[in-house]
Structure formats: C-alpha cells, structure tokens
C-alpha cells in the first residue's frame, strides 16, 4: 500500500512535469542563484538560478524512463531465455547459462562505462548498458526458479495430460515464478535508477541541460558546504523511489499469491 502510494506519487510528479513545472528546469537566471525555498521556488534554486523543484520533477521523468526501459529489456529477454533454458535443458541450457556467467564476470558499472565509451554518452546508450546488464540477472533467476517448478508433481500431471513444454511453461511455470520475478524486477528497477544516477554522475548518462537526479547530485557535490540542501533533495528523491518500489514489489507478491489473497 505504502509502496504503491510512494510510487504513484513519483509517477504523478513525472506526468505533471511533462506540461507544467513550478518554475523552469532549464532557464538559467544567475541573479536568482542559491535562493532559499519560497513561494516562487518551492525548494530554492541552484548555483545557476534554476528551480530545484522543477529540476527534480523533470528528472523523475528521465530516471523513470531509463529505469523502466532498462528493466523491461532485461525482463523480457532474460525471462524468456531463463524459461527456454529450463524447458529445453541440455545444450540450450548450457549455452544460455555459460553466456550469462560470462557476462556476470564484468562488474555492472564498469561494463556500462565501457559500453557508453564505445557508443558515446547519452540517455539511450545508458539505458542499453543498464538493460544488457539486467538480462543475465533475470535469466539466472528465472532458470533457477523454473527448474524447481519443473520438478513439481503438478507439472508432471500436466505432462501426463498431454500438454507440451511451451504450454506448460505459460500455464504452470510462469505464474508460479512470477512473484519472484516481480520482486526481482522492483529491486532491479531501484538499482537501475541508482545506475542511471551513477552514470549521469560520471557524465556518461543523461546529458546537460536535461536534468537528472544523478547529475543534480554530481553538481551538488562541489557545493556540499555552500548549500547542502541541493544534494539532499535529489538524494531523497532517489531514496523515496527505491524504497517505494521495494515495498511495491513485496505488496505485489502478496497480491499474486492465492494462498495469501484469499483467506478461508
């Protein structure tokens, strides 16, 4: 519940920022720099006189877009590969799992840096980098949990009634591992927001003047002693997003389990 509300709040912020922000997130007015919070500037302004509240709201857009797309890439490709590995076993499984082991050998941020170094920095490339990193995580998790379900007697019963592997995968395997995948997705969603922030912080993600939470943190770092609130706001935003998503994941898992949702 709480997680849902927090996530919803962020989504609304991002949606509103599409057509309205309290101030301008891009307009530089040097005269207005370092203003304290006021009616005009809810959270004050930064060193260039930009409105922090507006930057945060617009930044939510960027963060959420990056995280959603990156996690979706990982989710669809990773889960499909994992299900395939579990359903086919044998060589298919070996190849998929060894490939994912191989990609695990590279630290996530490092490979993202490598990728953006090759493709050039930017929002789209950082999405790609984070998404690629998510694939083996999902593949591994899916295969592991799917293999456990394949040994259940109800799967045996489904095979005994003549259902093929594909059909069993969608009717029995996927519903039974969905809750695990969703929890993992929300965790990775949070990680993706952090990763985007980290890449932007390094100057490899969202490019200026597009605001992003990570870049706001990056810029605030140099002004830590001058105006600490500038670092605290985006930090808080990231914390709320991560925390809310994790709670949402737990909540979804409970809703999806018939044993918990329908009491006797």
């Amino acid at each position: 519940m709480v997680g849902g509300t927090m996530t919803l709040f962020l989504l609304i912020c991002a949606a509103i920022s599409l057509f309205w922000t309290p101030g301008s997130a891009y307009e530089i007015v040097i005269a207005n720099r370092f203003l304290p919070p006021s009616a005009d500037h809810w959270l004050g302004t930064d060193q260039f006189g930009r409105d922090i509240a507006s930057m945060l709201m617009t930044g939510t857009q960027n963060s959420i877009v990056v995280a959603v797309v990156a996690v979706s890439i990982g989710l669809f490709i990773g889960v499909s590969l994992g299900l395939l590995a579990a359903a086919r076993r044998g060589w298919t499984e070996e190849i998929i799992m060894r490939l994912s082991d191989f990609s695990f050998a590279f630290p996530a941020i490092l490979s993202a840096i490598m990728l953006t170094a090759i493709l050039g920095p930017g929002g789209v490339n950082s999405i790609l980098a984070i998404g690629l990193y998510n694939i083996p995580v999902f593949a591994r998790l899916t295969r592991g949990s799917a293999n456990a379900i394949w040994t259940r007697e109800y799967v045996m019963a489904a095979r005994a009634s003549g259902k093929g592997r594909l059909r069993i995968t969608f009717e029995h395997i996927l519903p039974n591992i969905l809750s695990i995948i969703i929890v993992q997705a929300t965790i990775l969603f949070a990680i993706a927001i952090l990763a985007e922030a980290a890449l932007s912080y390094l100057g490899l993600g969202t490019q200026p003047p597009e605001p992003s939470w990570g870049r706001m943190l990056n810029e605030a770092q140099t002004l830590m002693f001058l105006d600490p609130m500038q670092a605290i706001y985006p930090g808080l935003a990231i914390a709320i997003a991560v925390f809310g998503l994790n709670l949402l994941g737990d909540g979804l898992r409970d809703v999806l389990d018939p044993r918990l949702s329908r009491k006797r």
Partner: protein, 333 residues
Amino acid sequence: MTEEALPIPVLEVRDLVRHYRLPRESLFAEPGHVYALNGVSFEIQKGKSFGIVGESGCGKSTLARNVMALENTDSGSVKILGKEVVGLNFDQLRPHRRHFQMVFQDPYGSLDPHHTVGRIVAEPLAALGSISKAEKQRRVAEVLQSVGLKEHDVEKYPHEFSGGQRQRIAIARALITHPELIVADEPVSALDVSVQAQVLNLLKDLQEEFGVTYMFISHDLAVVEYLCDEVAVMYLGEIVEKGCTEDLFRTPAHPYTKILLDAVPKPGAGIRRDRIKLKGNVTGQTEQRIGCAFQDRCPMVEDICRKAKPPLDPVGDTHLAACHFSARLLEKA
C-alpha cells in the same frame, strides 16, 4: 466377434528396462548407472486392480512414469489398449493420453496452487482437442460430484482444501477423460488413517461405477490387499513374485514377500512376535549382478542363488515367483 474370446488387456508391459546414468565421478571414469528397471513384464485386464508393492528404490515409481510415457524408456514395450506407446513422441501420444491418467502421491504438490479447482480438473481435457466451454463445465461438475465434491468448489483454490479433499480433486482430474487405466502412485500414503479409508472406498466405488482399471503402487501391503485383485512384488527393478492377492498374501512363494508381510506391524497382536528379520538395506541398485537380486539379504540364500538367476516361474495357477526355493516355502505354508 472373435475379439471377445481374447480380450485385449488394458495394459500390457513387456521386458521394460530403464537405467539412469549417474554423473561421472571424474572426467575419465566410466559413468555409473542406476538399474531402476531390469525387464519387468505384466498385464492388467479390464476392470481389475493391479497392485505393485516394494520398498523405496525398488523401481515402482520409475515403472509408473514409464507406463505413463513421462520419460524415455530404454527398451521393452508398453501397450495400452493394444497400442504401443514406447517410442511415440509427445505429439503422437497426445490423442491417446485420454485413455490413461495418473494420480500422484503428494496431495499438496500435485495441484498447481495458482489454478482454481475447475481449471485443475479440466486440465486433461486439453488432450481431447477443442471442447465447448459449456461441455467443459458440465464434465467438471459431473466428475466433481462423482468424487464427492460440490459444484461450487470449482472456484476455490487448492489451499482451501484438506489433504483428503485434495486427493479427491486429483482423482477427479484423472477421471475427467473417462480413462480406461488410472496409474496411482502411492495415492493414500500421505493421508491420515481416517481419511485414507474414505479415499480407498472412493477408488473402489469409482471402479464399480465406471469399470476403470487401476495400476496401484504402494509400499503399504494392507492397502494393496484391500484394493487389488492381483499383486506384483518388486525388488531391485524386477518382479520377484506375482499372483492374485489371496494366493500371494496367504501363501507367499518368495522369501522377500514373506518377510515384508511379517514386518507389517499388526494392531492387537500384543507385544512383538518372533519372526524372520531382514538384515541390511536395499543394496545393489548401481551394479548388475549374477544370480538372484535378493541374494544379499535373503535368509535362505545358497550357492545356486549367487550363480543362477531364478526365472519368474509359475508355482500355481496364476501364481509366479522368482526363487529357487519356492516349492520349499510353499510346502512349509
């Protein structure tokens, strides 16, 4: 019609062999094998119950999976209603599956917790091709009623039922295609005694009503005696004795059968009686040996048992035993 004179058995198993490969212990070592089934043959006539008893590791569950064509068979033949199922691939088998269904041991593990009872019970209908929704509903309601569940139970989930009721759901699922053969692998061993009796009686009633044939696997000899017309005793992947229930339980012709029967504790028999004790555990699943499978634990073992494998020979009208000394055992009884 000439076919009436010689009815086709519902299930005919011939020389069924299944060996599992063990993982290699080292890169260059020959991989070991578990010899789970070493040439098992039997047949079941329509409307009869055939019991298979034995201890864990004797291959009885492997036998069930092979009869159900749920794993690859190494060699031998399984004919269901005269049709060979060994060697058919999954798609070729599908239209035939309506004739043989299975009931599993664990009433908790054999029902998908995410599916409603209606969906679980209707699952085998998938093999029948397209059926209208109304027809499906009608058959589900009908089959639930015949196992003693209510029509409105279709909307519920498995966790809302007790173990005994879950096993009824599993039996309903097996019955829905009106199969000729139901393979039941320890269907009552996870249930409490008072509930077990309900399920056993249900199985008996369903047989009377629908004329269904059972291949009934159990470690519990008393349960098999109650339900089955014919029994086979398995040891290390082989049938060591086979016959109609009365003969086999009253005058066992294999020492293993006799020991198994003796080992069952009997309520009201007073503080323990004296009897033949069986030493050691089941050994030898991973080796192929010369002579009798039971030689390591047999109290009657002699030299010949280690040299020659006793064939499964008739010792009575329909009674077969694989022991060199069956005659001696029967004489004593």
